[in-house]
Structure formats: structure tokens, C-alpha cells
Amino acid sequence: MLAFRQMVEPLQLRNMAWALTTILECVLFVQLARRKFLNKYPWFSVYVASTIMQSAVVATVYRVYGVSDTWVWKIAWGSQAIVVFLRFQAVVELTKKILAGYLGIWALARGLLFAVGILVMANSLLFSKGDWYWISQNVDRGLELSIGAIIAALLLFARYYRLPIQRLHSALMIGLCLYSVFFVLNYTLLVKFVQELANFWRFLDVLTYLATLLIWLNAVSRYPEPATQAPPPAIPKELYGKLSSELNLRLHHLNQQLNQLLRSEDQHR
């Protein structure tokens, strides 16, 4: 009877969603293991495992110490820092899988993606105005925004160079990016309307995470295991250097020609 009462009490919408996400996290982890992806995506697998651990730890701490204890707050945010770090590692892992086969492109993308991440993070901290409270708030949001921006930049980069992306990788990346972006949106709105919308925000946060989990679960269950890609045919870098600059020259000329058409019209209108 006591157990029944304890089960009925947390049957609120948010808690149900929370329980559902934990179940889905477990199913996702089992699917990763079943399809032998644990070795192939070690950081992503560790990240999923860490989210399960986090749910268990935070739920236990809430039950033992109550919600308002300072230690609970510290443990919750400490575990969140670990989870975000692991998510970042999962993004790095997937980025390597997508780009590392193309040596030149990978070297270029590494610098570019790093710059994007740093730039977004720096801009996020710029709004803290040296206030420690806001710095701690903005670091969290800034990290999530950086992760989202890096993924979007990577996908744009791959699209520009027409690089093939396996459907599994694409779905995992989209899931990671969507969660990060919605986290930033939810969190930013929480800061503004903290009093009125706190419960609603927490529910939305769980809901967006739930959607992300479903995307991953669908990808891990349905999409075929990415085939080992043969490295692209290589050309000597000297040849690239010469052809590349000549191609740029020709593109310049074509653009110039178009400009002349424009200028001629301007002159004679």
C-alpha cells in the first residue's frame, strides 16, 4: 500500500515524461549494444550511459535529501557538466567519422569548426558582463549553442563539398543539434519568465529530449551499419595547388564578365 502511494504521488505529467525518457535511454543503450555499435561509437555510447546514470543519481539524491538542499543542486549541475562534456565528445567522434577520410578537407574543417565553437562561446560569455552568476548561466547555454553551431557548420561544410554522410551519422548529428538548440531556447525563456513558466519549461525540456531520443532510437534501430568507406582517390598536392589557383582565376573571369554586364547597364541607363 505504501509502495502504491509512493508510485501514485509522482504521477504528474513531467515525472511521467522523465520516467519515459529514462526508459528510452535504456532501450537506446540496449539497441546500441545489440547492433554492436558500442565499440564503433564509444563516446556516443558512454554519453547515453551517462544520461541513464545521471537520471538514477539525481532521482536518488532528490529522494534522500529533498529538492531544496544545496548539495542536491551541486550534484545535479556537476553531473550535467559531465553529460555535456560527453555529448561534446560524441560530436567530435561523429565529426571524425564523417570527415577524417578526406585528409585535406578534414584539416581545413578542424580549424573552421574549432573557430566556430570558440566564437559562439566567446560571444555567449560577452553578455555576462563579468558577473559570476551570469557567467555560470551563460557557460552552460554557450556550450550547448557551440555544440549546435559546430554541428550545423559541419553539415553545411559537408554539403558544400558534396561529401556523402551516412544516414545513421546524419540522424545522430541532427538529434544532438536539435537538443542543444532547444535547450538554449528553453533555458533562455526560463531566465526571462522564471517565475511563471518554470514548471512548463521543465516539461518542455524533457519533451524536446524525448523527441531527440526517438530520433536516435529510430536511427540506431533502422539504419544500416555504415559501410567502411574507401578513401577517395588521391591527387598530388602540387597538382591541387596549381589547378586550384587556375580554377579560381577562371571563376574570377566569369564573375568579372558578369560584373561588366552589370556596369554596362548602369552606365547606359
Binding site: 538548440v181 588521391a234 586550384s244 564578365q257 547597364e265
Partner: protein, 190 residues
């Protein structure tokens, strides 16, 4: 609304839009089997700039108005504008082909030059914007221009430069690949 709030909301929406943009179905890739040199040596539409400019000259059709055929003159000018638009399409197609070749080269190269890739990206943006602008103006109706002689000579200059550039590409490629049959094989199989 604070600046911080606006920044985060705006940035998140921008990232979301970019993600949607990047997730669209991929465009066509450079056709395998098409030789780079063959693609580079294909006839270039810019050679026909002089003829296109000539066709757009008002003097070419002005006499029709003088002999009382104003309607015919308008029809002819409209037709020539359509031809100019087709020329623009071809120019854009040529530009896209060159871009595709350069992308394929970058993918195959063990080392790429960031500045050149950036330059190419900026060029592609500028070209797309210019192309859209010229097309829009052509649709509205090109106005007559008198500096045709100057333009024509400029076009000839560009054609000459392009010829020289293509010859240099071929020479460079032959020099570099003479000692490396592998490289040449890969280029052919692009």
C-alpha cells in the same frame, strides 16, 4: 528584453535554420567518369559575350522603328533579351561546373589551401548574387548602352586570358603527373 536574451534566441534560431538548410537532399555531384581536362576544355560561353552584347545593342533594331515597324522592334528586342537570359544560364552552368571540379579536387587532395577555398566560396556567393541581379534586370528589360566597343574589347581580353589559363592548367597537370601515373589515373576517374 535584454541583449543576452536576444542574442541567445537569435543565435539558436539561426543555428536551427542552418540545420534545416543543411539537411535538405544533396545536390548532384560531379559526374564520375568526366575527365577534368575535358571539362576544362569544353567550349566556353564567355566567347559569345560579344555576340550577345551586339544583339542587345539598340542600334541593331532601331531602324525598324524608323521604317514604322515599332511592334516588330519590340518583339525582336524581347526575343534577344530571352537569348541573353539563356546565355546567362549557360554562364552560370559553366561557373557551377568549374566549382564542382574544384570541390572534387579539394576532396581528393591531401592538403588544401584555406585561403583559396575561402576565395572560391566568396566568388560563388558574389557570382550567385550578380547572376540573380542581372537576370532580374533582364526580365525588366535591358536598356541600351553605348560603350559596346569598350565592352567588346574587354571581352576579347578575358577570352585571351582564359585561353592562357587553360593552357597553363594543362601544362601544369602534364608536368606534375608525368612522374606519377597514379595521379593521372585518379584525375581521369574523377
Amino acid at each position: 528584453m535584454s541583449a543576452s536574451l536576444l542574442f541567445f534566441i537569435f543565435s539558436a534560431l539561426v543555428v536551427l535554420s542552418l540545420l534545416l538548410w543543411a539537411s535538405r537532399p544533396p545536390k548532384h555531384r560531379f559526374t564520375p567518369g568526366l575527365d577534368v581536362f575535358e571539362a576544362l576544355s569544353q567550349s566556353r560561353h564567355c566567347f559569345r559575350l560579344a555576340q550577345v552584347l551586339q544583339a542587345l545593342r539598340p542600334e541593331d533594331t532601331q531602324y525598324l522603328q524608323q521604317i514604322g515597324q515599332a511592334a516588330l522592334m519590340q518583339a525582336l528586342r524581347q526575343q534577344r533579351r530571352r537569348i541573353a537570359q539563356t546565355y546567362l544560364d549557360c554562364l552560370q552552368e559553366e561557373f557551377e561546373t568549374l566549382l564542382e571540379i574544384s570541390r572534387a579536387l579539394a576532396v581528393m587532395s591531401p592538403e588544401v589551401v584555406g585561403m583559396e577555398e575561402m576565395e572560391r566560396w566568396k566568388l560563388s556567393l558574389a557570382f550567385a548574387a550578380n547572376c540573380a541581379y542581372v537576370r532580374w534586370r533582364l526580365r525588366l528589360g535591358l536598356q541600351p548602352f553605348s560603350g559596346f566597343t569598350l565592352l567588346s574589347s574587354m571581352a576579347t581580353d578575358i577570352t585571351r586570358q582564359l585561353d592562357a589559363a587553360t593552357s597553363r592548367i594543362a601544362e601544369a597537370a602534364v608536368r606534375t603527373t608525368e612522374g606519377s601515373r597514379l595521379g593521372r589515373g585518379n584525375i581521369d576517374g574523377l
